[in-house]
């Protein structure tokens, strides 16, 4: 009898150990029911109202609200009971603790982690959270070996944001072999192929709608909230009808017609921030984030506030072939750089070739440039030039090897750089070139003076192709978008224009009588990236 009891006990122990070992190796987050349970468990509406002070919108898709959002998506409205049922059906192992990581250093993120922990605990999911330090990109983005179903990253869930220039950016990362947290499938690749494979707007919208429905059911990312951008300006600044839009990028904001009332010293100076502390950032990663990128560089095309390309800027005209596989720009006559050298189609061609070899440029730009005929051979060093690019007089022709739905968007944001100043640079050290101590640009304002880490002074470019800007001087201080100096400088009358995503700053700016805050909807979605590979390391 004793032997029988001992045998049963041993068998049970073996089974328990095996179950635990299985649970440890199999990633339960690969079960869609667990991901859905997490979405139901978090009351994002309450978090948006409380922690985010009503300055964010609960998200039901990675795609922001607006023309491209499809209807009928499951909002995963807070339902802890439903979450518990899904977890039970999925056989959730309550002894495991989810490892949640994030990379922001602000208090709001830490508070959000505490709130999420409480919500998940309520439905029986334990989570711990930690801020990633050191090589964050590698910790977030390390890819598994080709064909492997075992994740190469250690975390279960990563809290992060996706600020998209083109909506495809929300989904292109899910392609097979490109994501650190979701295994590619044929179905996903097909959906991605559809959103990238057409320039026909109605077909593209349908493709996005189908992707959103798939995403809404699968929850590869669990969308949390849409963040707004807040543009602030003082009562000294008058944009004279200039549009408001996505300030993180470039659009036709009518800066030539902006005016500013004299300050207390009688000077007509516009004060702003985002000046550099050691060097000007090149505009090929964040094309419109810093003041120099915004006012110092022009683009072939311009866009409206929603970043839809509308007309030529440096280009007098452009033509897209009916199949979308070639694009021709005709440059305006008499264009000049700020050093009075001519700005030609050759500058644009050189800039595209150079950018295609610079690591870490904007993902939309690299998608466009990679799609040009002969780009790969050039990048691999097998050709001296990109065969799909050619210049004839003031015309630049681009032939694509594959369709790129965002080619016009790229050329509304991509700033050509002066070939005569940068030719022959090491493309791995673009940012380290001394040119970025006082860059020569093509935009409506040129740099008049740089007191690095003190201020930068801009004055109107007299030979600007569209006329001379009315504000005679812009002074930018090296204060970031979201640092503590925004409020101090605004209160002291040393900040007439800027933008922020910090909800705490917005409330304080709104309380200042001389400041006005305008909210702008932007494609910026915060989400939980769920590591749903079948196994974890």
């Amino acid at each position: 009898m004793n032997k029988y009891i001992a045998g049963v006990a041993l068998a049970s122990a073996i089974q328990m150990v095996s179950t635990a070992a299985y649970a440890a190796s199999v990633n339960q987050l690969s079960d869609v029911r667990v991901r859905q349970a997490i979405a139901y468990a978090i009351d994002m509406d309450t978090i948006a109202e409380t922690l985010l002070e009503g300055k964010a919108i609960a998200a039901d898709s990675m795609i922001p609200n607006g023309a491209w959002k499809t209807e009928g998506l499951n909002k995963y409205t807070y339902n802890p009971q439903k979450a518990r049922e899904l977890l039970k059906a999925a056989g959730w192992n309550t002894s495991q603790t989810l490892d949640v990581v994030y990379y922001y250093g602000d208090q709001l993120t830490a508070d959000l982690m505490v709130a999420m922990q409480a919500y998940l605990q309520d439905v029986g999911i334990k989570m711990s959270y930690r801020k990633l330090e050191g090589d964050v990109s590698a910790q977030l983005g390390k890819l598994p070996k080709a064909g492997s179903q075992t994740s190469a990253v250690k975390w279960d869930i990563a809290y992060g944001a996706r600020a998209a220039l083109a909506l495809q950016e929300y989904y292109n990362g899910y392609q097979s072999g490109k994501s650190s947290y979701t295994a590619g499938t044929k179905e996903l690749d097909k959906l991605i192929g559809r959103i990238n494979g057409t320039v026909d707007v109605s077909a593209q919208k349908q493709a996005f709608a189908d992707f959103q429905k798939y995403e809404n059911q699968q929850l590869t990312d669990i969308p949390l909230y849409y963040q707004q951008l807040f543009i602030y300006q003082s009562d000294r600044l008058n944009r004279n009808g200039g549009a408001y839009g996505n300030e993180q990028f470039n659009y036709d904001w009518g800066i030539l017609d902006w005016t500013v009332e004299p300050d207390k010293d009688g000077k007509q100076v516009l004060y702003t921030n985002t000046a550099p502390s050691q060097f000007f950032e090149h505009p090929w990663l964040n094309p419109g984030l810093n003041v120099q990128s915004k006012v110092g560089f022009d683009h072939l095309l311009t866009a409206d506030g929603s970043l839809v390309p509308t007309k030529g800027q440096l280009a007098a005209s452009y033509q897209v072939s009916s199949d979308g596989m070639s694009l021709t720009f005709t440059m305006k006559d008499g264009l000049k750089w700020h050093d009075d050298q001519p700005l030609t189609a050759a500058d644009v061609l050189w800039s595209i070739e150079t950018a295609s070899k610079v690591p870490g440029i904007n993902a939309v730009f690299s998608s466009t440039f990679d799609a040009i005929e002969g780009a790969k051979a050039f990048v691999d060093g097998d050709a001296d030039h990109i065969s799909g690019l050619s210049v004839e007089g003031n015309k630049l022709s681009i032939k694509f090897a594959k369709l790129d739905p965002n080619m016009l968007l790229t050329f509304s944001q991509f700033a050509p750089l002066p070939k005569h100043l940068l030719e022959g640079i090491n493309t791995l050290e673009l940012q380290q070139n001394s040119y970025w101590q006082k860059p020569i640009g093509s935009g409506p304002y040129k740099i008049a003076e740089v007191q690095m880490n003190d201020y930068v002074r801009f004055t109107p470019f007299a030979d600007y192709h569209a006329g001379v800007a009315k504000i005679p001087e812009i002074v930018a201080f090296p204060s970031g978008q979201n640092d503590a100096n925004v409020l101090k400088n605004a209160a002291a009358g040393r900040l007439d224009f800027g933008f922020t995503k910090s909800v705490g700053d917005v409330n304080a700016l709104e309380a200042m009588q001389h400041m006005k805050v305008i909210a702008a909807d932007i494609p910026y979605t915060r989400s939980l990236r769920v590591n749903n590979y079948a196994k974890k390391p």
């Binding site: 490109k178 650190s180 690591p359 100096n485």
Partner: protein
């Protein structure tokens, strides 16, 4: 004295070498490197491992630690301080561009704190046990205990934003670059930085003065019928000055790195801000040079203090 100076200078070199190795090792042990800070985490999946490797090779970050340290120290010994990995700016240019701003701030803080600290310390010692002595002791304790960023924010709120007397921060404004124009910018950060130091100097000079006043030579001076001011300043304070000089002297080099918080609060473009940015970005050539510069400043200050104390106090012999 010359032998003393030469001997001390000879000790400085191996110390610098050893400290530079420790700092380099510390940077090596920190997770990540300069390239990992160049890539936005949101772009984690947009840049290939091959491209990351190319970047690391380009900046020499793929080499083993010892080899990298060897290359760095050999370059430094040849006078090549290298370039910032983030922006490519020569290190010497960055240091000599930012250093004057920090030295300005440190100079103001040292002058104010030494002056006020010594005067208040002497005053307090001469009125030992009185209500004014007790009040100054309380103020001194508060000055030492309350963090300087708090004083900084209060000063900003009061003098820059409420009363509008002084600028909210920065060091220069376009068109206002003369000495007189720049003076208002340094008042708040300079005074706030000196506040904590004043409290320390005051307490130090008070106890040194009390100690000095109880010595036999003070009685002798009084017996000789010397005037009170001469007894206090020439006989008493001269002896009391030795520990105070040590305190002030050692604070000067630490102000180069120690003014970081004030530089941040007042948007002061000094070396402290640069150091923080360099450490965050793991820009090792810049971190190394700023760290070495600070260490060198401490070692030289220590030498100067020894020389000064020997000059001030005849009882001290350098040999």
């Amino acid at each position: 004295m010359l032998t003393f100076v030469i001997r001390r200078l000879l000790v400085v070199l191996p110390m610098l070498f050893f400290i530079s190795f420790l700092v380099y090792l510390g940077l090596e042990l920190t997770p990540g490197d300069a390239v990992s800070h160049m890539i936005n985490p949101d772009l984690a999946n947009s840049i290939s491992e091959q491209q990351l490797l190319q970047l690391r090779q380009n900046f020499g970050l793929d080499k083993p630690f010892i080899e990298r340290y060897g290359i760095w120290i050999s370059n430094v010994l040849q006078g090549d301080f290298g370039h910032s990995l983030a922006g490519g700016v020569p290190i010497a240019e960055i240091v000599f561009d930012r250093l004057p701003a920090t030295l300005e701030l440190s100079f103001v803080a040292i002058v104010f704190s030494s002056l006020f600290g010594c005067v208040l310390g002497i005053f307090s010692a001469l009125r030992q046990g009185s209500w004014s002595d007790s009040s100054l002791s309380v103020v001194g304790m508060l000055g030492i205990s309350i963090p300087e960023f708090f004083f900084g924010l209060v000063a900003l709120l009061l003098f820059a934003l409420q009363l509008n007397w002084l600028p909210v921060g920065g060091r220069l404004l376009p068109g206002y670059e003369g000495l007189w124009d720049r003076l208002p910018h340094i008042i708040l950060p300079g005074l706030v930085l000196s506040l904590m130091m004043t409290a320390g100097v005051m307490r130090y000079s008070r106890s040194a003065m009390l100690d000095s006043l109880s010595r036999e030579f003070i009685k002798t001076a009084r017996a000789k019928g010397l005037p009170q001011w001469r007894i206090i300043l020439v006989h008493g304070f001269r002896v009391a000055l030795t520990p105070v000089i040590v305190l002030i002297g050692f604070r000067l080099p630490t102000l180069i790195g120690g003014s970081v918080i004030i530089e941040q609060v007042f948007q002061w473009p000094g070396i402290g801000n640069e150091f923080i940015a360099a450490v965050r970005g793991q820009d090792y050539p810049l971190v190394m040079m700023i760290a070495l510069f600070s260490v060198l400043a401490v070692l030289i200050a220590s030498l100067i203090i020894d020389l000064l104390t020997a000059l001030v106090d005849p009882r001290i012999r350098l040999d």
